[in-house]
Amino acid sequence: MTVLSINNISKRFDDLIANDDVSLTLAKGEVLALLGENGAGKSTLMNILFGHYVADSGSISVFGETLPPGDTRAAIARGVGMVHQHFTLADNLSVIDNVMLGTESILRPFASRAAAAERLQALAERFGLQIDQNALVRFLSVGEKQRVEILKALYRGAKILILDEPTSVLTPQEVAQLFATLKQLVAEGLSIVFISHKLDEVLAIAHRIAVLRAGKLVFEGGTKDATKAALARAMIGRDVEALPSVVTSVQPERIDQPVLALESVSAHADDARLKLDGVSLDVRVGEIVAIAGVSGNGQSLLADVVFGVAHVEQGRVLLRGKALPLRARAMIVHGVARIPEDRQHVGSVSDLSVWENAILPRVNDARFSEWGVINSRASRAHASALVKSFDVRLASIEQPIRALSGGNIQKLILGRELSEAPTLIIAAQPTWGLDVGAVSFIHSQLRNATARGTAVLLISEDLDEVFALADRIAVMSKGRLSQARAASEWTMESIGLAMAGEVDARSREHRAA
């Protein structure tokens, strides 16, 4: 039985064709994976289904009835539920309040909280999604927040559940748990659209796979008939290039002294709930050390610390054996290249022009200013050179940088930092949300840098990236960092356990033995 049919949906934003005549169906009890690169139009399509956008043409019907376009409440009422990639929870409210939000007529003079709590409890037990109903959402882990989002959809009687990149924030074990939940939901007669760009996961969970590329449906078929290579080809539109090989044979000789050493660094985040607890780590010449972990366990605070924008309470940081004042200014002066997680809001100032962004961290350099007055000719020349050598696509360096795509902003930031011949590169989630081409460009740039002897500290939540790049891996959980071990010593299982915070017990056993 077809529960959902998407008929000839097209949608364009200005010059961008987000969806081009897309038609899809979903059967009862089926998991349909919607696969595609970032920007392929997956989220747009689902947002049209969910009434956040209105399609330019085409229609959507649910259980045989056409959905009124642009009407989220109608979609919810007909049994469509959506778990957004960026959770739509209010941090200041409790779990039960978040679940109840919007379920009662807004003009009702009272809320039936007791009945709601009972119903939520029943649902939680039925699907094994245990959660403290009265906990403030602010204090939940990412995995728990996702559980609340799923419960929210079920509470609204969802028969069709859309999950947008649900695994990107989970540990491997949590992914397995999520998949078990999804299988149970399907067994109960729900249907699921699973949006992802990860091939292995899609092959593991989906019955059927649809691939979008540049807004067009380019592949649709059963999982049995699909291979990883074929799917990848469909996603990217050409054969995946093998990553430019690294010259592993000429590893520069490793000197004993690490380039970067953190010695029991402790710090608090602004909201005081998150802390770093005695983090120690070293990164040596020519190696990539990766820090893996689930979002929200202190990696972004650690990144802020090593970027020089968070206050350190205890411990010290050494650069080539010398204590380094942890301030952004000092790190820039000492030749540390920093690539932040949020390229639009941290790595660049979106209202400033491209060339201003290209020189911003080093504006006081004699190259770019004299007596406090900017040498705009030299600055513009520098920016143009970066744009050229790092293949940044833009109309003009006078444009505000917000006009650039995420991938192009990241290339500019990469160029800005790498062109200074750094001794150390610190990169946080450098490829988050980028398409395959940009990802492989950035990966090869990082590898080439290590071949030149640069040390790289990579902070990433993407395990594929961690295993693809790292020589050694340490895992962050609840503000503590495990010992860094060679990448080959880790398995998916052991790293998943470590991400879930079970590393201490194990490593203690290890040491005892």
């Binding site: 209105v54 376009p69 642009g70 409440r73 920093r338 100032v349 007055v373």
Partner: protein
């Protein structure tokens, strides 16, 4: 509450045409004149003659023009104070208090530098510089306090700068009752008159316009250069646009904010110095008809551009002077000037927004087809 949001929504324009801002500006002016025209009608006056009277009062004669320039002088300085601060997203709404602090500091400096014989105890040029420095520092000090509260304790500066206006005015009132009371003014709270050596010279005969005007225009040009072409200006704009990204790029956000506070407060203080040394000669509690607040309006009308502030200050100053003259001849209350300015502000804000966004009207039924 059904979702009908799709019937009207904003979409960012991908490109802004060059004539759009011009059309937007003209529309805003037309809208303002129309709204205020209705008010003039309500006051039972002839709209056309009221507007002509405003124009004549502001620009119609040599005297009118000098009066407009005189009014615009403090407005330029408070406008610059707001523009600089808002550029760095430091919401200085305390220019009114800073102006009074600057004014009273100038008088205090004059009193301190006067010897027993009632003459300047220092060389005139030095005393002049010291008076200006005193006014600028006093204004700056009043803004540094809330800025430090913002950087150290995260206290929102909007409310603190607003409240400090009242505190500053009470403080000035206290001084006018005590150490800076003019003994010759019978009971009326008024400061001693500034030594005539310290007064700004007049630019024209038989007019009140003084060298403070040139001073203000010069400062606007300097600021325009600093904002656009210096590393400090870049840092300031970066902090204003996104303080996290600025901090990441190695810019000392707090240090930048404090420098900006110093400049902004000093500019507002200088507006007070100019009013004392260029126009009134002494401080009273009704010295400023809200120049500090008008400065914010002027900065916004100017799109935070220092050069734009010169023009916007002339517009607002001319409106006030013209409305004063008009109220005498046509009998429309002089408060019409503030109404015009407020309406123009709202109209210009909306108009400039519409050059950046496009309103998409989409009837639900049409989308359904």
């Amino acid at each position: 509450m059904r979702d009908r949001e799709n019937t009207v929504r904003l979409e960012a324009r991908s490109s802004i045409s060059t004539i759009a801002p011009l059309i937007a500006g003209l529309t805003a002016i037309f809208f303002t004149l129309a709204v205020c025209g209705l008010l003039v009608l309500w006051a039972k006056a002839d709209v056309a003659s009221a507007y002509v009277a405003i124009y004549e009062g502001a620009l119609g004669s040599r005297f009118a023009i000098t009066e407009t320039f005189t009014r615009a002088t403090p407005l330029m300085l408070t406008g610059l104070a707001a523009a600089v601060a808002f550029r760095a997203r430091l919401y200085n709404i305390g220019a009114e208090g800073q102006l009074y602090m600057g004014a009273i500091a100038a008088v205090a400096a004059s009193v301190v530098m006067t010897n027993d014989a009632g003459e300047l105890a220092l060389p005139t040029s030095l005393a002049f510089l010291l008076m200006i420095a005193a006014g600028a520092l006093a204004g700056a000090a009043l803004l540094i306090v809330p800025t430090l509260l913002k950087t150290k304790f995260k206290v929102d500066e909007v409310v603190t700068t607003l409240l400090l206006n009242f505190i500053a005015l009470l403080f000035v009132s206290l001084l006018l009752d005590g150490p800076l009371k003019d003994p010759s003014a019978m009971g009326w709270p008024q400061s001693p008159t500034l030594l005539s050596d310290l007064e700004f010279s007049k630019l024209v005969e038989r007019g009140r316009v003084h060298t403070g005007l040139l001073f203000a225009i010069g400062l606007a040009l300097v600021l325009s250069f600093v904002i656009r072409y210096t590393s400090f200006g870049l840092a300031m704009r970066a902090v204003g646009a996104n303080d996290r990204a600025a901090a990441f790029a190695g810019i000392g956000v707090n240090a930048t904010l404090i420098k900006v506070a110093f400049i902004s407060g000093a500019l507002a203080g200088l507006a007070g110095v100019g009013e004392v040394a260029g126009r009134a000669g002494y401080v009273t509690l009704d010295m400023s008809p809200g120049y500090g607040y008008s400065g914010i309006v002027i900065a916004m009308l100017a799109g935070l551009s220092p050069i734009g502030v010169i023009l916007a200050a002339l517009f607002v100053g001319g409106t006030i002077v013209g409305a004063d003259a008009m109220s005498r001849s046509v009998n429309v209350p002089t408060y019409i000037a503030d109404v015009i300015v407020a309406t123009a502000l709202i109209a210009v804000l909306v108009a400039s927004l519409l050059t950046r966004y496009r309103i998409v009207w989409r009837a639900k039924t049409a989308a359904k087809r």
